[in-house]
Symmetry: C2
Subunit: 266 residues, 2 copies
């Protein structure tokens, strides 16, 4: 993979990279299109990274369909698809982006961002892209990666792209495939709760506790189990108590046993 | 710095890198000579890395003499010297090489190797060398870096070079400058203790406790304060209890308040 990248770069080519865990949907494909606009060559990786799943999480049942994914990428004319069988051999080395990794999803998934940061660093060292594209559905992940790249002086530009949504507003996610029809219908309450927060704040609400209580009630009213709802600083991800500037509203909630996340700039 | 490296590489040049904290002595210069044999261009960095010193350690008094260092490197015809003013801006990101970082010096310096691994990764991302040269005086450091490079798939070859010693056997170290004449004379007990271990093992001793007791006694007999003496597996750095194959004998001890380390393959 690295030899391929170095040949392209020696020819003066710019390489954009889209790391994925497969289960590709229109959200991923929007990242590929953005990558195509940024570079001469687009590399996509498909690798369900074991180190970002806890033992009780859904590593085993994470949606995998390599043939379908490869066909979708071929249609997008990507230059290379990197599909490693494994990236680990008794690893001892971990990259931690402290503070950022403890917020939001870090509460219920304490080793998640350590696994994400470490595998992304590995992929960056293998693919050696000039630019890497991440979707804002995983907003905290993008902030963790941006901070890792800055702190470790990695020579890579990170670009974040907007969330792609289903017609009813549900953020596209590989895990949506695992929702049964009833849970799929009810899960729209997640994105609705973000719109609710935006509406309340637009109407003058400045008390975060009242906004998050309304979001919580909306999701629970639809039968969801809330992991967190929060309004955070877009840079530090620190939870705010009152609205004094731009915030990111963020939600993690389960419907029918499937944990979903979503967020929105307000 | 990176632009300079990329120009050299675009011309087909191979770059060897020697990271240092300055206070250059013949040990460092042996690394520079080795680097010259391995590559077309040698880059040396001089940076006393604050994140590998604990608050009670000697960051403030660590030997610094930039003019003298630059003159020594000019005489060695290195291609570039990288002397950053600072490499950190409120860092949140840390690289930990678990297990290896807890052994030997990790006992009394719990955050030391986290600081070393992180700054070396930063320097690697800035300098982008093909090969990096480390001295075996800091044997544990070399193992930590080798493991980090392997685990994170960094595209850099790590080369270790033998310890350079003073005529009486004391391993060369920037910190030797801080020994008063009496402590300097007594500090030779450290390398003598390693020779003692080699002699005992050559004579058939297989019990590690007896070997380390003799090493301890020798250093304390010379007025040294022992931090550790150990015989470890050269790969995992795990302490051995009996000699069944190659080991690395390692010592950390203070003379006159100056902490010194040394090691030897047996």
């Amino acid at each position: 993979m690295r030899a391929w990248s170095r040949e392209r770069r020696a020819e003066g080519g710019i390489i954009a990279f889209v790391p994925t865990m497969g289960g590709l949907h229109d959200g991923h494909l929007s990242l590929v299109r953005a990558a195509r606009d940024l570079a001469d060559h687009v590399v996509v990786s498909i690798y369900v990274n074991p180190t970002q799943f806890a033992p009780d999480e859904d590593f085993g049942s994470y949606p995998r369909d390599e043939e379908r994914d490869l066909a979708a990428l071929e249609a997008q004319e990507v230059a290379a698809v990197f599909v490693p069988e494994t990236l680990y051999e008794d690893p001892l080395t971990w990259i931690q982006v402290t503070e950022l990794d403890a917020r939001l999803c870090g509460g219920s998934r304490p080793d998640f961002f350590r696994g994400v940061a470490t595998v992304v660093a590995k992929l960056f060292h293998i693919v050696e892209p000039d630019v890497a594209v991440f979707g804002d559905k995983d907003f905290q992940q993008r902030r963790v990666i941006e901070r890792m790249v800055a702190d470790l002086d990695m020579p890579i530009r990170i670009v974040g792209m907007p969330i792609v949504r289903e017609p009813d507003g549900l953020a596209m996610s590989s895990r949506n495939l695992r929702l049964d029809p009833d849970a799929r219908k009810r899960a729209v309450a997640i994105s609705e709760s973000l719109d609710l927060a935006a509406t309340q704040i637009a109407a003058g609400e400045r008390d975060v506790a009242r906004v998050t209580a309304a979001m919580n009630a909306h999701i629970e009213g639809a039968g969801g189990r809330v992991d967190y709802v929060a309004l955070v600083d877009p840079e530090t991800l620190a939870e705010q108590t009152s609205i004094t500037g731009p915030v990111r509203a963020a939600v993690a909630a389960s419907f029918g046993g499937v944990r979903l996340i979503d967020n929105r700039a307000i």
